[in-house]
Amino acid sequence: MAIATNEFDSATGGPDGARSEDYLWTLNFGPQHPATHTTLRLVLKLEGERVVDAMPEMGYLHSGFEKIGEHLTFNQYVTVTDRMNYISPMANNVAWHHAVEKLLGIDLTPRCKYIRTIIAELARISDHLLCNGAVGLDTGAFTFFLYAFYQREVIYDIFETLCGARFTNSYTRVGGVSQDFTPLVIEKIRTFVKTFPKTLDDMERLLTRNRIFVDRTKGVGVLTKEEALNRSATGPVARASGVTRDLRRDEPYLAYEDFQFQICCASAGDCYARYLVRMQEMRESLKIVAQALENLPAGAVNVGIDQRTALPTKKQVYSTIEGTISHFELSMSNRGFEVPNEETYGAIEAPNGELGFYIVGDGNETAYRARCRPPSVLHFALFPHLIRGHTLSDVVAVLGSLNIIAAELDR
């Protein structure tokens, strides 16, 4: 709901601050508005339709995730990470356990790395579909949004077949994943890989060369490369401004070194460039999924029972003594795996940017401090810089293109 107050000052609208502010309108783009991406607030100072200043406010969805991280074990906390960037929860799970396994010094099996790569890329496709779909929706393109959401339903179906939940999957565990890929899951992913490019082509045909969309997004919300680095932008927002940093290429984790794919960058830095970067990134992600699926290694998916981190299979528990001991040690509280008294930072290239966790271990099976580095906070802080001088209708386009998820913003 937009509440406008205007204090009119008659003709003296000079160039300096205090006097000229009197004739500016203050518009509350409040926490409830169809175009704010979940609960965040913007107080806009308008001169007619031009935005003179914007004051963003967050904290409406703060749930104390970082404090909860000090009271839950590593395998319990993955359920909380699901609820951060809930558009691509698999990516958050992978990021959390990537950081935890870095702290514990666990190396995953090849099959697990490929599986986590596949689901992380499917989460990336899902997130970009939603982000671009929302940009389309906010600028008026409803069909584009529905095409995107239909494909997201296909991805949700894959995740549901895999682990029983559409989102809030909590799929990864320390040392592995909770369910292995079944033939049905592989079949569904293969079908998705075959049918998705056609939908992407349809979506591109709707918007990429559409005069209205191009006029609404080209030159709007320009972020230069220096500003992107200065303000710590990462992910597609930074890559659309010319920062060629992608953790999948610069600091390869999981199995990304085995695959051929390209990093998508643009130099314009406006909303249109971010849209194009995300569309192309979806195609590259699909290539990674196709390559990973066809070369999926056989073998165990969780690390071995001698490492005492992942739960053994029931057959091992009932027939081998190591399985029984391992199961007992992991299930009883405070007898779990060894956590060093150290701290470390592990980051992955999440769909939104660099999602990292800074974990401090103190010997217990719960983290002493679990800090989440959320890309959305830094992108939301970018917003006033991008919107000055643009009109009210550009606010929605810029806000959508930054892909700000309030749950990750506030934690």
Binding site: G59, I68, H71, E343, R373
Partner: protein
């Protein structure tokens, strides 16, 4: 029996020895440690801004994160608050972690907002949740908690379920708004 391919080699990060040598030459010996291929440098709070200025001049253009750890219940801790600054260089692909320790009462450190604008909201969050003041910050106020909130919730002496603040918020009537 299907053959299992050899494991993918873990990523070896770009070494930061040249940066550490330059820092030691300029600021004297600093406590450095390496854990899981990550290099951490402890910098005293009074020298922190100069160290960051030197690091930015050396090409650490991306400030990845600013956060804090409260060591109140940590065995063997010597200081209460450990600020963590994660820096990265997009040109040389190096990463560095800077630790700055501060203590009660009045934990204060100089703000790095003049160097990296991204620190603006990150430092506001540390002030909000831990109570560490950043001198020179242009706009130090609460970020995630409401403005009327008085405590610093992520400190270890603040309970998980809070102290009943959410039941005691002032009720605004229609006339107040």
């Amino acid at each position: 029996m299907p053959s299992i391919p050899p494991p993918v080699m873990p990523h070896q990060p770009t070494p930061v020895n040249d940066v550490l040598e330059a820092l030691a030459a300029q600021f004297g010996p600093l406590e450095t440690s390496v854990f899981r291929d990550e290099t951490r440098v402890v910098v005293p709070a009074l020298k922190s801004f100069e160290v960051f200025r030197a690091l930015k001049a050396r090409g650490f253009d991306l400030l990845v994160d600013v956060s804090c750890v409260d060591y109140l219940e940590y065995k063997g801790a010597k200081h209460r608050y450990g600020l963590v600054y994660l820096l990265a260089s997009t040109t040389t692909n190096q990463r560095l972690t800077i630790r700055v320790f501060v203590d009660d009462p009045d934990p204060t450190v100089r703000s790095v907002v003049p160097l990296w604008e991204g620190a603006n909201w990150l430092e506001r969050e540390v002030w909000d949740l831990f109570g560490i003041r950043f001198e020179g910050h242009p706009d130090l106020r609460r970020l995630v908690m409401p403005e009327q909130f008085t405590a610093h919730p992520l400190r270890k002496d603040y309970p998980l379920q809070g102290r009943g603040e959410r039941h005691n918020f002032p009720v605004l009537t229609r006339d107040d708004g």
